[in-house]
Subunit: 421 residues, 4 copies
């Protein structure tokens, strides 16, 4: 494989190519192929961007159909037929059946852009600067979003500029068994000298992806919504990684029966890995004035097209949800088994997750790395997350076949055994 120019020209900031130092060429559903023809099962799936698999045939066909004629590709924030079609799909397939009433902003095609727009909207709507976020939360790295992202790696690489306007509170479970971390939040809200500026909004991932597959309890989420309502604080669900079916529902917050005031989506939203994001907001929160937030690529018609196809292909009924849930249980059981095996090897390991967003916490990044490196040698692309990279995580395509899923899990189990025995 020819990698010289890649090593020479690409900035040292590159990261995944260090874990997987091959040149990938082909990809289909849950399979990746490198330049030398070697195949890998893909349990990373674009870090949750490829919920419908690589080169999903139906979604790709919609793209090819669109490209077959000279349909507009780049449309700034013009009205285009592609955008209209996407909005129709969103309304009919997603919002109406769930009884949700949201307006939509296309803030630029990346997750961090959606978060920047969402928190700014919350601030403008409430006239307050503070945004509460949680330990191990990840919401992007542009300076506005970074104020809500806990990871020191990014926070220490701002050239010394402190972030402004974010307050971290402990996520569900952070203070240990038996402590409801929302007690602390609620106490601070009521405390006139606790140091917490009354926030405009709270931004939360119902399952923290980068943070280590940390799963917020459903009661905790309900209470969080209630606290927000009681204190006139906006609840922002960052569903960039956990949304689009990853947890077994289209929106990850559906499990808890809550209705966020603002929702961010990206990653799998386009269905094919195309850059695309949206901010959903309760209509009365749409305090934007024309043009107050912009960006060149907020009308990428190819993504509208594939996103609409994805919604219509997978979300017209609950079959896909059930399939994800079923596969999630398969992964959960196997992860529990692997965790048990690791515990027998003296490693404090445990399984956690929701739907097909699952991880095995093996207690240290070193151990996790050993496992994932070995897995890669054995033909499985799988990554870690968590503050120390201590969680081996499965974000396989939701469309993965049972055979590939089993094969991937087999590789992982074998690799864990090989790596640590």
């Amino acid at each position: 494989m020819q990698t010289q120019i890649l090593e020479r020209m690409e900035s040292e900031v590159r990261t995944y190519s260090r874990s997987f130092p091959v040149v990938f060429t082909r990809a289909q559903n849950a399979r990746l192929t490198d330049e030398e023809g070697r195949e890998y099962i893909d349990f990373l799936a674009g870090a949750g961007t490829l919920n419908y698999g690589h080169n999903n045939p139906q979604i790709k066909q919609a793209l090819l159909d669109y490209l077959a004629e000279d349909n507009i590709i780049h449309g700034l924030d013009f009205w285009t037929a592609a955008k209209r079609d996407y909005l129709e799909a969103l309304e009919e397939v997603v919002l109406k059946p769930r009884g949700l009433d949201y307006k939509v902003q296309f803030p630029g095609p990346t997750g961090t852009n959606a978060v920047e727009a969402a928190i700014r909207l919350a601030r403008n709507a409430k006239g307050r600067h503070n945004i509460v976020t949680f330990t191990n939360g990840f919401h992007g790295v542009t300076m506005g979003a970074l104020a809500t992202t806990g990871n020191r790696k990014f926070r220490e690489a701002t050239g010394g500029v402190p972030t402004v306007g974010g307050s971290f509170l402990p996520f569900d479970g952070y203070l240990g068994e038996g402590a409801d971390t929302l007690d602390y939040f609620e106490k601070l809200l009521g405390d006139k000298s606790g140091g917490l500026d009354i926030p405009a909004g709270v931004i939360v991932e119902t399952v923290q992806g980068e943070g280590g597959i940390n799963v917020a309890g459903l009661e905790w989420l309900k209470r969080l919504e209630r606290i927000c309502r009681d204190h006139d604080i906006l609840l922002i669900a960052d569903d960039i990684q956990a949304g689009c079916g990853r947890t077994g529902k289209f929106f990850s917050f559906e499990h808890a029966g809550i209705t966020p005031d603002i929702v961010t989506n990206s990653k799998s939203l386009s269905g094919l890995g195309l850059p695309f994001s949206q901010v959903l907001m309760r209509p009365e929160l749409d305090v934007w004035k024309p043009g107050q937030y912009n960006g060149t690529f907020r009308g990428f018609a190819l993504a509208f097209t594939t996103a609409a196809a994805a919604l219509r292909t997978y979300w017209q009924d609950d079959a896909f949800e059930q399939e994800v849930t079923r596969k999630g249980e398969v992964v959960a059981k196997r992860f529990q088994k692997i965790a048990g095996m690791l515990r027998e090897l003296g490693i404090e390991a445990s399984e956690r997750g929701r739907g097909l967003m699952r991880g095995i916490d093996v207690g240290s990044g070193d151990i996790a790395d050993k496992i994932t490196h070995r897995a890669f040698e054995n033909g499985l692309v799988i990554e870690t997350s968590g503050q120390d990279g201590e969680v081996v995580k499965c974000l396989c395509p939701l469309t993965i076949t049972d055979e590939e899923l089993e094969r991937g899990l087999d590789i992982l189990e074998t690799s864990a055994r090989e790596a640590l025995s």
Copy 2:
């Protein structure tokens, strides 16, 4: 045209659909078509994103070829054949012939992301927080980039959070005839109590696009580079709008014979309107540690593919440059004529620009709006820029045919006359 769902569901933040309230469907080179079959000449071209026209055949063919097989579409920051191919094209076609030695960062596919990465890199490299930017500069709206963007519309929509780390100085010409605004910069640098924190970098557009087609003089740019070198300050050329041939050279700073330390590109970089951006940096500035800046869509293989095709199609020799320059002169002459006509009507109008980045300053946003509204009625999509929208600007595809160019200019001239007589 069915626009109800667009009006109902899209946030009030939408803007271009207010100026051009039609639903666009087809687009080819410099022609846009709306749903009712009406055609428009496109002098906006995705705000400079479609330098090679809508649905450019060669570039699109590269996309279709890539899509014809199951090549990887979304690759995080994996090594992919598509990325490698792009780097090869960039090196061979662009950098080597110009004697430039840059490393490349793919920071996420939008311009604002590139700017966030660029200024953060400068801060990390120099250990200083300040970034000097110029009046009427536009560098994006995420909070980091916004510190360098002058537009009040965005700056006042942050929910009260002040931006941090940017200092505005007067752009070339801002202090009137005869005053070299860099005198002020240089004086401040040497003044221990002038209030200017020694900057890590200076970010500059050689021609300000959103700011009103303000053209920095070549001597001014040379002096700016010299000042930066003398004071160990990094020169960041934001070539997001002015780059990719818009001014008649691939990089807009080539006219001045300067070599920025850091360059940002986006908009037309992908060649087809696909979200894509890059940061170029002198190799010794690549102080990033692995993973210190990230983003999901920094390995969008379709954009690598079309970007490589664009470079190979248009930049192997200087024919395209000459063509852009020639067309630029056509526009310049006609704009001067229109400006002259406006002056006869008592409007203080003047032409300015470089290459095919040109504008007529008509002195007020109201007058400019009258002209562009009339132009739209007459079949021309054209927008304004400048602090008050007082500059009617031409950002037509560089690939526009002479006939379309003339037709567009005719419409504009007629519309200006009609609107103001």
Copy 3:
């Protein structure tokens, strides 16, 4: 009493004159006299500024002696005999006997100035921007200090400018019985994505004055020191209110046997109510360059003079400490009795404090106000603290006579009964 001009000319920001709407004229030790000759016992003592009482005779004599000749009064940061004399007293009477080795900065005469200097020194010494502070902490209201002050009243009056560089953590006891709040701090320090930027320093009051007479446990303080040492974080003891003997030791942190890296003193430091403050720092932390922090009144010779007199009068042996401790127990017992009485009236009341820094938490600001208003009518000046003003606090002069102390306590007890029966 003539108060018209006061009401007309003084800004609405005035506060104590609303609780005590009389014009005070004379004051001696623990007695205040108003213009109409009415006497009050003073349990407020300048919010802890008059530990040695009003017009303390020995200290005042030193002032008069100094003023008797044309000794320099205002000396910028000149070397003066008065400053030298103070440093000698500080070293001989305070530092040496306690085995402390500190250098001294006179940063301007107010507490907030001392805090601004202290946290800036910590940041400069460690090259990090973050300062950890605690819920209900009060460290001043200038913008740098305000980042570490929890009170919303001040934080919301910055015209929307968020403070930068402070992170609030729960003070001892804040998470309820059985929870050691330092577990949370230590977890965050070790958590690479917990959102806590590694701090340069931690600023703490061992007993929070304005925050509600919240007493940090001695083991908690020891553990805090240990955590700081383990993580190379500077421990800053803000002893502005709790220092100068208030808790029964000269430095309030002596009880815990810890040695902060940086100490701030003000309030009672001058001994007579003259504006005066200092920052003590371990010698190796003195990274200031000449003149990097300044202020006009950092060489107020009258305060040097009275401060030296205070040290020599009260701190040559441990007699004064013992007296304070004894009186503290008197107050504690009576406060417990009053709290018991209140509980019988159905009010959830409790006593807390250390030395002569004591309070009765009566659960609500309304109840506390009723008591203190009645007390004022009955001849006692006493204030509340805590986030809701729910703590009736005693900060009487340490030099109060037993008779006056008993009389003040009698009035308080009577007033509480009268107010709430």
Copy 4:
């Protein structure tokens, strides 16, 4: 002289004791005496804090009278007879005769505290965060004030924390002869993308003290006031150094016939070098809520007492103004002569100032230091200011006798000659 303990214990931050390495003991009017009995003429006068001289007899007598009985010394923000008396003097002697209607805030006794309060008040009153300040402005070093202070020495000593909420614009004359720097300000205000956030207020010294005795033209000040009025921006006159008669009027802005919305005073306000400051505000701007800004030493009764005495002693008629003006001309003439002499020695020197706030710009800090060091050897305490310390400045007591003034000027002239020949 015994200086060991001073050198050992005082922080490296100390500065004046490096220029004047003696221990001062006595001081009377414009004379300082060191421990060895050496006398110095004082042209520094506490950096403008001792306008009425050291140990001014009348003012000091008021202090002694107050201290003769047990009058309250420290009164938090209680109503005291001393405060009332000061307000009466301020109203009768200063405000009424000048037709000024201001309310008064006592924000803590230092200048930086007054500035913090003033800019916060402006922000709260206008609901905007930005404060415009000028090149070479000095307004204090606490973090809020520092945002408006240009000096890099302080700005670079914040441990990397950038200041927030200040925008620097060129002071009068900064852009050279013939350029009115307010053209730039006015252009920026009208420019929607110039990068200047509409400010809540503009803070200005009519004569910049620390910045180098830079004198704002009276027309420039009038235009500045007009611009502020036209744009609903508050004009804040920082009269901490230039006020209290220094320029020949009580308020330095009287020369220009303007009426600032907010005024800050400190330094010479107490008349005797006691820490004291005030914020004056137009009554309708008094948007403070009770207690929104505080500080322990905002009711220092000794300073009220001496300040009232100073007003009544010197400002009942215009005799003192005339005397200051006369002496100012004496200094001006001699400074012009010295500057002429320096020019003959090849040094580009010039005189400037207003009233008794005067300097000789000698072009470099090295030259200025040579002169002031020699002057000190010859018995004159005189300091430099300006960004490089290039301005030898005279801030002698306004009460200096003609003989002492002449003697000081003689020493300076001789020293300049000696130092540079």
